[in-house]
Symmetry: C4
Subunit: 251 residues, 4 copies
């Protein structure tokens, strides 16, 4: 069946930025996107299912079944704030082919809403203790890097896996600008402090006025979602691993 | 080729319930569906083949070849009984993609026959001795849980693999209600006693008048079918395992 | 690209039998089909490529590149001989999906030529020394078994992998009759003596007048083809194995 | 999404030769193609992406993201030089299916530009020290071998993996001539000296006037590209292996 999209509404946005926030290393993107959705009261306007998602249902608390899904939210910026399309979800696609297909679907929707700038978020796994997580960046075009570099981000060296890399790459093919931001994280639990550094930079770049005090709540919700999806999250690096190995974007 | 459907008849049904009964843990669903088909004398009206099924034939007794297939039966309820569409078969699809495709095909057929309620069955693997198998439930909408809860079922916590989870999940996307019922089972042999508890609840919920005394026969037929499909079924937990590992819905 | 068919000619045949002769256990089918093609001077009328075949070329002797391919030959029977469509090739598809697709393509062609009877050949792996290889049979319908049983064949119990099983199974869905014949073989080298017993039965059933004295030549050609395709064939059971494990129809 | 092609220009060429130069053993083809592009100042006219390429982005020096891609360049020959279509890229497809699809796409483009001759390049892995790398050849038709044989090449025996094999094989199905040239190489690093022997022969055959003195630069650029794509290239045979095993065309 490929991807199935359910559009609940077609928002009218002015030059919106697409912010990617799917599960990945340290769940930095996932927490950040969820926090933006909650604090900005962003509205869900589309759901995407893919036959490359997991073939199971999750029985959440109260017995209501939940399913692998990606969701798109929109936010109409106030004053100087940028309009946003926020991509949140509980999974990425399980296969390379599925990842390309999903990316194409998301970019199709974003472009139809007038978006020409994709900002993907993620974690950069580091060993050892992280005090203040540093930010790293890469972009489709060099001039896009000026702003994150001025905010103290460093240049990424290496591979950017999953939709964080693909959306920038395939977006560029369509003439869309793309920026990928990664925050340092040990990577084996939902990392609120990495998400805090991430959102500080994102909010500055997009003039967003967002309270970051409740990030721990977003991290906890993310943690619970992961748990129900069979990703064991333990407080130590040793505890993770085996369960996660099924998900290639957690490499 | 994807899925190939052969329709032998287009039954006229009133608000039918789709009951899923494919192979899975303890073969609870498989036995239950087969027993319903036999006791209710339900009529086969469609066969589904998929290129995601196994690529082999089985030489059954007498030398007649059999093939991986899913079959749909219908039953026109008498008096207060609900009309039924019963899904039985000797396999699920081998890949995630195939499972989504198969689910879509089945839901297409069910919807065309006026079905808006999917009831999926399965086993919940438990270790140790099971005296009276308990039932567990999850649903697309909370209100659907009232009836199974009133019959003593508990809330499922965790993942529901295979078509038992997918049909509820994808059905909900189409506005269909869905209930998943799991019965406790050690899981390594066709479990007639888990199927008995399952059918007791199903029959109550759908006002079905079904004799449960011959469940052992359905379990034996299921056992023989599994054997010919290369799934070694042994009386002890140790004996299973290796053979089953090829089938992800037996996880 | 799926399957690509090149038709060189559209033969006019009377009630032809499709004989499957692709690589498999003991290469019994492969040798048998090749021998029929050579002795009957059957004419190649179609080539099939599939994107589920191996992605390599083989540099054969003299530096000419050869490729994974399935070929169809036809033979117009003389006197009481049946008309034949012979399927020969140097590979089967590498995936389950590819096997279904390839089978569908072959059956499409056969049906367009008026064929409603599929005869698939193969080897049945046995351990220990084989003196006179016995034949085994399974069929889509019980009455088809009468003739092979009268020739001394026994009933197969178990799974029939690869196109030998699929063509019978998918053919039946189209209303075609199907017979699968397997000959006992140690299975780890191209087995001319198993092919001899196979062809004795096939020729009797189809009234074919074929000299079986040069079967060793067909076995040697098959051996050389296998070698160039990277399947190491050794005179002992120990020597095979590792190389073959890439090919699921050699299980 | 399969393959996506971006055509920047439709060149007018006279009887052009398609030269394949994708990553493979010893990166002989990759270096050779890159060197031709640079020395001949060939012009890029098309980019191909495939959902069978890797799903990641690479942050190259300076923070600009790069992506898995195949590129086509053209060169209008001067005087007696043949017109060229040069295929260069940083990857092949990851699956057999993807390789067939990619090959079909490339041949489509080449044929539309009037090409009926495909020349694929590659490395032939040899153990031990290589002094002057020897060339090996295979072809779709025996007469094509006359020229490379007269230049001292030997006949290849065995399998030709990846697009080097597929383009010749699928090209022949379209009536295109094909020649595959392999140069001896230890295979575990970008091998400029193998590329030198390769280009000497290619230039003679196509009357190309190319300076081969800067081949080390092309090898170094190839080396850096590989590094950023996560293929660890070490000066010793031992160092390679693990990283490369993900890429089947490096077998």
């Amino acid at each position: 069946m490929g991807c199935t999209v359910q559009m609940y509404e077609k928002p009218k946005l002015a030059d919106p930025v697409l912010i990617e926030g799917l599960p990945g290393i340290g769940f930095v993107a996932n927490i950040s996107a969820l926090h933006l959705v909650r604090e900005l009261n962003a509205k869900r306007f589309a759901e995407i299912r893919s036959s490359s998602f997991q073939d199971f249902a999750i029985a959440a608390e109260g017995g209501q079944a939940r399913f692998p899904v990606n969701e798109l939210y929109y936010y109409e910026g106030k004053r100087r704030e940028r309009d946003l399309i926020i991509l949140h979800g509980n999974t990425q696609a399980l296969t390379t082919f599925g990842q390309y297909e999903l990316s194409g679907q998301i970019l199709d929707i974003a472009q139809r809403l007038g978006c020409d700038y994709v900002m993907t978020l993620g974690g950069l796994r580091v060993t050892g203790k992280v005090n203040t997580p540093k930010l790293y960046c890469a972009a489709s075009d060099p001039e896009i890097l000026n702003e994150p570099l001025s905010l103290g981000a460093k240049i990424i060296g290496g591979q950017i896996f999953g939709l964080a890399g693909l959306l920038v790459g395939l977006g560029r093919l369509r003439g869309m600008k793309g920026l990928c931001l990664l925050a340092e994280t040990p990577g084996f639990y939902p990392d609120a402090s990495a998400a805090r550094e991430m959102l500080r930079a994102v909010c500055k770049m997009l003039n967003l006025d967002v309270d970051l005090s409740k990030l721990d709540v977003a991290a906890q919700v993310t943690h619970d979602m992961l748990r129900s999806f069979g990703m064991a999250i333990r407080p130590t690096e040793k505890g993770a691993g085996r369960e996660e190995s099924r998900f290639r974007w957690l490499i």
